[in-house]
């Protein structure tokens, strides 16, 4: 009896002693090699620098698989400590419904408005003047990756912009190389279309359509040019019968394809294959036409909890994610750009440095995720999937339907 009593006392003391340490579950969809290593940096920093514990809640699959699970947990009354979303409007309604923790006091105390660069990232975390998320990295779509081996085999110099690439395509085709690699996953087609748009129509026209939802511009001559170019690219991709984006990247790495339009996450694949930027492959931001990068990426949101101690731990994690050391450690592993301009990324490779330079000059655009709702993006994705797979749909038809979606966009 006595021993039982002391045991009970012991556990009660333990419970009291541990009251300040909080187990914070963090959900995310970073499960590939480099991604997992990057998120481990967050976990390490959180475990070492605070008294709380990081409980990893990785959800395998992609964002498309993970987001419905996260949302149903938050709306179903089983919120996690923190969760990843992409920059933009994916969690907008959750915030409006009051399900997310307000981080404004942390943001103001630490001056996030001064340190987050570009500041537009913080703007997309801000709703009605209150801050609800922490941006952690920048991923940009605006790149084309070119295989030097493929162009050598075709006997043409490696192009320095999109027009040269298009001109070289028939030569590549003649030597049995697929000019443009592209997987069959739907998001790849709509992503590549976005890149072509910004390169050929220019940032003003893009902003008119994707930010101001101006259907007249979308139906106009500038976009007609974009759709013509996309139709040409559709011919160039014939023969790349792969599904996943990294299989398409692999075609470029092995010289079976001339190039691939893909975001900067493709860089990791070249690195793993021991390829050197500049000698084995080239990267052209903005397709070499408009050197610009879009500031997509990831942000963390903190679902509201009833326990004030958990809330304190959430705020600690929020400020930790933006701190200098953690930003550097995380982004080097992830291959993405940091969200603050005042950190030193000496270890970055050539392509990453190109990106950093463009970022420093301020040639940036918001990501489509920040300006259009998931619903509208889904409709565009459907249209693009159809258009890229079926050559019987003419550029003009596709443009008409695109303008229609933009006219009804929200």
């Amino acid at each position: 009896m006595k021993s039982l009593k002391s045991l009970l006392c012991g556990t009660a003391m333990c419970a009291a002693g541990a009251a300040h340490a909080v187990d914070l579950e963090v959900t995310h969809w970073w499960t590939s090699g480099g991604e997992a290593a990057a998120v481990a940096e967050f976990a390490k920093a959180f475990n070492e620098m605070t008294e709380h514990n990081w409980v990893d809640g990785a959800i395998a699959g992609s964002g498309g698989v993970a987001r419905p699970i996260m949302i149903s947990r938050i709306t179903g009354g089983d919120p996690m400590g923190a969760t990843q979303f992409n920059h933009g409007r994916q969690a907008e309604e959750l915030v409006e419904a009051g399900l997310m923790l307000d981080l404004t006091d942390v943001a103001e105390a630490e001056g996030w408005r001064d340190i987050v660069h570009p500041v537009s990232l913080l703007d997309s975390c801000t709703i009605d003047g209150r801050v609800y998320c922490v941006p952690v990295n920048i991923h940009s779509w605006q790149w084309i990756w070119l295989s030097h081996a493929a162009f050598e085999q075709a006997g043409v110099p490696v192009p320095s912009n999109w027009d040269e690439f298009v001109a070289a395509a028939p030569k590549l085709r003649d030597s049995g190389i697929v000019p443009l690699a592209m997987g069959n996953q739907p998001w790849q087609a709509s992503g590549a279309f976005g890149v072509i748009t910004i390169a050929l129509a220019g940032p003003e026209a893009w902003a008119a359509v994707s930010v101001d939802k101006d259907a007249e511009v979308a139906a106009g001559p500038v976009y007609a040019k974009v759709f013509e170019a996309a139709a040409a690219a559709r011919e160039m991709r014939q023969g790349s019968n792969v599904q996943d984006w990294n299989q398409a990247t692999n075609l470029v790495i092995t010289g079976k394809a001339g190039g691939q339009i893909m975001g900067d996450w493709a860089q990791g694949e070249f690195q793993v294959a021991n390829q050197m930027a500049g000698t084995d492959y080239s990267c052209l931001p903005g397709l070499g036409v408009n050197e610009i990068i879009s500031t997509g990426g990831d942000a963390f949101y903190f679902p509201k909890q009833s326990d004030p101690e958990v809330e304190a731990a959430q705020k600690e994690l929020a400020s930790l994610m933006l701190s200098k050391e953690v930003q550097v450690a995380f982004n080097l592993k992830k291959g993405s750009l940091p969200v603050r301009g005042d950190v030193d990324l000496a270890a970055a490779n050539d392509c990453m440095k190109k990106g950093l330079a463009i970022l420093a000059q301020g040639n940036i655009l918001p990501d489509a995720n920040q300006t259009l709702s998931p619903d509208t993006l889904g409709q565009i994705e459907d249209l693009m999937t159809e258009f890229w797979a079926d050559s019987s749909i003419s550029a003009a038809d596709a443009q008409e339907r695109y303008a229609d979606i933009i006219a009804n966009a929200d």
Partner: protein, 283 residues
């Protein structure tokens, strides 16, 4: 007493099934996005639905898949059962082999057939390596016939069960009937079609319900095999509902689509139920 005991079950059924269905139908007339909101928009969601190319393609695919799946499942299932019923040797072995695919989930089935139908590794490659170099069979990469590629996988998975049910039905037929028809000199095939099949009516209705429910909810097979591609050529309604509700954060649009699916099922079921159960009362 029995009725009192059944009350909790009746209430659950009413709240969960009927209540959930009504709620879905009502909210399909709203502008709900990620969260349900009672902001009425009339028939806008339905208007958009029927102006969406992907939905139209989905419906067409479901029709093709449904009709073919219904006919082939019944015909193949019955023929296999009739063959097994000829008192052959190793019947158990054959029955197990044919029923085996049913033990696999649609996801596994889809992945297996994705490989078998892949032109670089599967059937096409094998036939070509046997010498027929111009042989072409790549249903999953051809927009016009991709739905048949899915149909093949669906039949492979589902026919076994239909066959077993049919076999049980055939075994339930009194041997005296066979003897009588043999005495009268009626050919076997005629006995099957004019005597045995009409007697197996309950079995046919069971299989029909199983096949029909399999058709309407076809989803995982498509996700695993083609994820709706190439382009949008193998999309199905259930996938449209899932995508709009959970990926595109547009609940009301998904509700509208699922209401249309419910309506389609109702149009098929109600006249049938009326004929089936209504006539019995009149007898």
């Amino acid at each position: 007493m029995a009725k009192i005991a059944a009350i909790p079950m009746i209430l659950t059924a009413l709240c969960v099934f009927v209540g959930g269905t009504l709620w879905t139908v009502v909210y399909s007339f709203t502008g709900s996005k990620l969260l349900p909101k009672a902001k009425w928009v009339g028939l806008d969601q339905y208007e958009r639905l029927w102006n969406t190319n992907r939905w139209i393609v989905s419906i067409e695919n479901l029709m093709i898949y449904g009709i073919c799946s219904l006919i082939f499942s019944l015909v193949i299932g019955f023929v296999l059962a009739a063959l097994l019923d000829q008192k052959i040797r190793f019947e158990n072995t054959f029955r197990t082999i044919i029923l085996y695919p049913f033990a696999l989930s649609f996801i596994v089935t889809g992945l297996v057939w994705q490989w078998i139908l892949n032109p670089d590794f599967g059937v096409q490659n094998i036939v070509r390596s046997l010498g027929w170099a111009s042989f072409e069979f790549d249903p999953l990469y051809n927009q016009d016939i991709v739905i048949y590629g899915i149909l093949i996988a669906g039949l492979w998975q589902g026919t076994g069960l239909i066959m077993v049910l049919m076999l049980a039905g055939l075994r339930g037929i009194d041997q005296e009937i066979w003897k009588a028809s043999r005495v009268d000199g009626i050919p076997t095939w005629k006995t099957y079609i004019f005597i045995v099949i009409p007697m197996m009516r309950p079995v046919f209705i069971t299989t029909l319900v199983l096949i029909a429910s399999g058709i309407v909810r076809v989803f995982d097979l498509v996700v695993a095999q083609t994820s709706g591609g190439p382009g949008i050529a193998s999309e199905v309604p259930a996938k449209y509902v899932y995508d709009t509700m959970f990926l595109r954060q547009n609940l009301a649009q998904g509700f509208a689509a699922s209401t249309m699916m419910l309506l389609a099922v109702a149009i098929v079921i109600i006249p049938w139920a009326y004929l089936e159960f209504g006539s019995r009362k009149r007898d």
